[in-house]
């Protein structure tokens, strides 16, 4: 099916979206035919999720038109999107763990009888009909909390399906799936395609994309760069289109490593989420950790930092084994973690810039438990100036800052703590290009001043740009290490995607 066929079920015309200074979507136009499955691919931050959130009414577009079956719609809320037949499968978040599959599927439409009671029999019959129709291996009476992740995902899908959507959006549905579970989902999607449901499928797993998609739309930097028919597409070509041309000017120049000394060594480390991970960090290097969301990157950092329980293996600092059971221990041993979720885990949004920065090192600004106002003000003011954090004063609430400036507050925290080893998880997520390049420069400078840095990121380009060495993770294990020839992005991508 091509886009010239009859009337498209969904047409996007020049969709534009800004988030303060970030231009997230740049005049995106796309036509999707009825019953078509279109895959949306692109790097993190390319604009895929933003586009979907505009379709489902989470965000409002700045410019452009959305046409459903030729009719213009101004999608102002998720409820509106639901009404006009756009359904999105979320990752479990919508399910209630204490209720059964059947109850969860129909909770939004629970028919109450005239007496005001829930008609359980009727409810179960309807849920069972859906489960049977798609031949799913779900027990309608089983509570969600007892189900596997994959089955929960299937329940979420059925929950959306019973509303009879015209367009169904999957955003990374298999991020937490095993291969067997993926094939379960694939066969469900096949059936949906036979039922002429239009599907928009977002995934980082290119194998799946090749399997399910009729056409593949590639996004990069907010642009929809091309839409190709899924015939004889080579993975390499796709990856190249996703990455585009490199903008090397974003990154500071790399200096050569002067030390071979291993400051941190992790040997055969295992936790709930990572398996037998070994690597070392050299004095004064920036070690990149690449991997998809869910590949175990963050969990590795959490295990090293004492947040997740270690099941086996050891952590060595300066060649000596150390026991890290909590962040308190980690900080004692000279580590500092700047977490991925900066608003949820990194910052106290209702407190000032100053009060956030000093959290990392009270010893430097207090004596006998009493804070020395002058020295804390001057220390935080100096950091604010050094990192050019844009705010009225050090007393400005962190919650009122932009993403980039919030990230700089975290860097300021790290600088005040002056750790020997800094673990930085997705430091440039959701911040604009200008702030990104400032952060790269800062990290490089910190490295030159002797800090050793572990840099976790989903963006291969930035890893290539500032790291001296990159290790790649997948499914909780390290799949490879790249030191020379970092420019070869495909090599890294292959390690990330290899199944």
């Amino acid at each position: 099916m091509t886009e010239d066929d009859v009337m498209p079920i969904l047409e996007l015309r020049g969709i534009d979206k800004h988030f303060s200074s970030v231009h997230a979507l740049k005049s995106v136009s796309l036509k999707i035919g009825r019953g078509e499955t279109i895959a949306l691919v692109g790097e993190n931050g390319a604009g895929k999720s933003t586009l979907m959130k505009i379709l489902t009414g989470v965000y409002e577009k700045d410019k452009g038109d959305i046409l459903i079956e030729g009719k213009k719609h101004n999608i102002t809320s998720p409820l509106y999107a639901k009404k006009i037949g756009i359904g999105q499968v979320y990752q479990q978040a919508e399910l209630i763990p204490e209720l059964t599959a059947a109850e969860n599927i129909l909770i939004g439409e629970m028919g109450f009888s005239r007496k005001g009671l829930v008609n359980w029999k009727e409810l179960k019959k309807r849920a069972c009909a859906f489960i049977e129709k798609y031949q799913l291996s779900i027990d309608p009476d089983e509570k969600i909390k007892n189900m596997s992740v994959a089955n929960r995902q299937l329940v979420s899908i059925v929950k959306v399906l019973q509303r009879n959507p015209k367009i169904l959006i999957f955003d990374e549905p298999t991020a937490v799936f095993s291969n067997l579970e993926v094939s379960l989902l694939m066969s469900l999607i096949d059936q949906l395609k036979r039922d002429q449901i239009t599907i928009i499928y977002i995934s980082h797993r290119l194998e799946e994309v090749f399997k399910v998609a009729d056409r593949i739309a590639i996004m990069r930097d907010g642009y929809l760069v091309s839409v190709i028919d899924n015939v004889n597409v080579k993975k390499e070509d796709l990856i190249q289109q996703m990455l585009g041309r490199k903008s090397s000017s974003m990154f500071p120049e790399k200096a050569n490593l002067t030390s071979e000394e291993k400051i941190l060594e992790v040997r055969n480390l295992s936790s709930e989420k990572i398996k037998n991970v070994s690597f070392s960090l050299r004095q004064g290097e920036i070690l990149g950790i690449a991997g998809l969301v869910g590949s175990g990157r963050t969990e590795l950092a959490r295990a090293v930092y004492g947040l997740d329980r270690i099941k086996a293996g050891g952590i060595y600092i300066d060649g000596k084994e150390v026991k890290i059971r909590s962040p308190v221990d980690a900080v004692k041993h000279g580590l500092f973690l700047a977490p991925e979720d900066r608003r949820g885990e990194g910052l106290v949004l209702v407190r000032s810039i100053k009060n956030n920065i000093i959290l990392s090192n009270f010893r430097s600004i207090s004596r006998h438990g009493v804070c020395h106002t002058k020295s804390e003000n001057s220390a935080t003011q100096a950091l604010k100036d050094k990192l050019s954090i844009k705010a009225d004063s050090i007393h400005t609430l962190v919650g009122n800052l932009s993403g980039g400036n919030q990230q700089k507050v975290i860097i300021a925290k790290a600088l005040l703590a002056s750790p020997r080893i800094l673990i930085f998880d997705e430091p440039t997520q959701g911040i604009d290009v200008g702030a990104k390049s400032e952060i790269y420069a800062l990290l490089t400078k910190m490295r030159e001043e002797g800090m050793s840095i572990i840099f976790i990121s989903s963006e291969i380009e930035e890893l290539q740009g500032i790291c001296t060495r990159i290790i790649v993770m997948r499914n909780g294990a390290i799949t490879g290490e790249v030191e020379s020839g970092l420019e070869d992005g495909e090599k890294i991508l292959n390690l990330m995607y290899r199944s």
Partner: protein
């Protein structure tokens, strides 16, 4: 202009005028309510502004003021302490009981130690065992009240014949330069609490835990240790409150402090403290205590009976929390 950290509104800021203005902005609603209530009070009762009544008012607010300081610390970390009233009773009955056979100083010290111990147990269960503070302190409320009844056999302990009774009477009723001793004590306690919150590491950590405990934890701070501190201090302050109440009443009664948790929570929330933690000030809580205290005072002056007063208090408290919730919602 971006919002400023309310706890930073201090005289040592570079722009004192700006600090005063931003203080007034954060405290605008409670201050307006306080002014309104004072106006009403002076219209209703000619004796409201009399020296005797003002002295009386400053004595009446003592218990809630002292206890509210502890409650403020607890709520700032995102917790709640329902056991305050019962611990006030514990301190009162034990200090009276101990005065039977030991010097008053030792009796006071022991009573303080016991109430602090109750707070410590609560703090330990909340922070280390990680049980919801609502449940822990609800249990503690019943447990401590039970002990107070059991120890006294449900009869108030009067200390008139005991040595040290004179000291307690003086504490409860004497004045210095026209200011009641009780008022001097609560003023000192509020100042100390404010200083602690503003200038100490403990204060900074208490605020930040309420704002985002995980961020504090990742900074390498032992959150569970610090989470216990407000409950311990709340226990101690309830001890102080209980002893002061006993001094004023002349007895240690197992029923004292009943329903006090409602007053303390209301005062703190009326004073602009966020139920979710991280935001709130001592000055706000003081205003909150006075708002409730003056309402009580007027009703007394008007000879309104105790039961309608209780009903009215319930209405006021729930209204205050409704307003606070609307305020918090509109912020987020």
């Amino acid at each position: 202009m971006a919002k400023q950290d309310p706890s930073q509104d201090a005289k040592n800021d570079k722009v004192p005028a700006g600090a005063v203005r931003s203080y007034l902005r954060t405290q605008l609603v409670p201050l307006a309510v306080l002014a309104f209530i004072i106006l009403i009070a002076s219209l209703i009762s000619p004796v409201f502004f009399s020296k005797a009544n003002i002295q009386n008012l400053f004595v009446q607010v003592t218990l809630n003021m002292v206890v509210s300081m502890g409650m403020l610390l607890v709520i700032l970390t995102g917790g709640i302490d329902l056991s305050v009233g019962s611990i006030v009773a514990i301190a009162g009955v034990f200090v009276a009981g101990f005065m039977r056979n030991m010097p008053v100083g030792i009796a006071i010290l022991l009573a303080l130690l016991i109430s602090t111990a109750f707070g410590t147990v609560t703090g330990f269960i909340v922070s280390k065992v990680k049980i919801a503070p609502f449940i822990v302190t609800l249990g503690m409320m019943s447990f401590a009240r039970g002990i107070a009844y059991w120890y006294t056999q449900s009869t108030p302990i009067i200390w008139t014949p005991f040595p040290g009774a004179d000291f307690m009477y003086a504490l409860g009723s004497n004045t210095m330069l026209g200011i009641p001793y009780l008022a001097i004590i609560w003023i000192a306690i509020t100042i100390l609490t404010a200083l602690m919150l503003k200038y100490t590491v403990a204060g900074r950590i208490i605020y930040s835990i309420g704002g985002n405990a995980q961020a504090v934890r990742l900074s390498g701070i032992d959150v569970s240790k610090w989470q216990a501190v407000p409950y311990i201090l709340s226990g101690l302050l309830c001890g102080v409150g209980g002893i002061l109440l006993a001094a004023r009443l002349g007895v240690g009664a197992p029923t004292s402090g009943t329903g006090l948790e409602l007053d303390a929570i209301a005062a703190v929330i009326i004073g602009g403290t966020s139920f979710t933690g991280g935001i709130g000030t001592v000055s706000g809580a003081i205003i909150g205590v006075f708002i409730l205290g003056i309402i009580n005072n007027i009703l007394d002056l008007m000879n309104v009976a105790a039961y309608p007063q209780m009903m009215l208090k319930g209405v006021i408290v729930v209204s205050a929390v409704i307003l606070a919730t609307i305020r918090d919602r509109s912020k987020s």
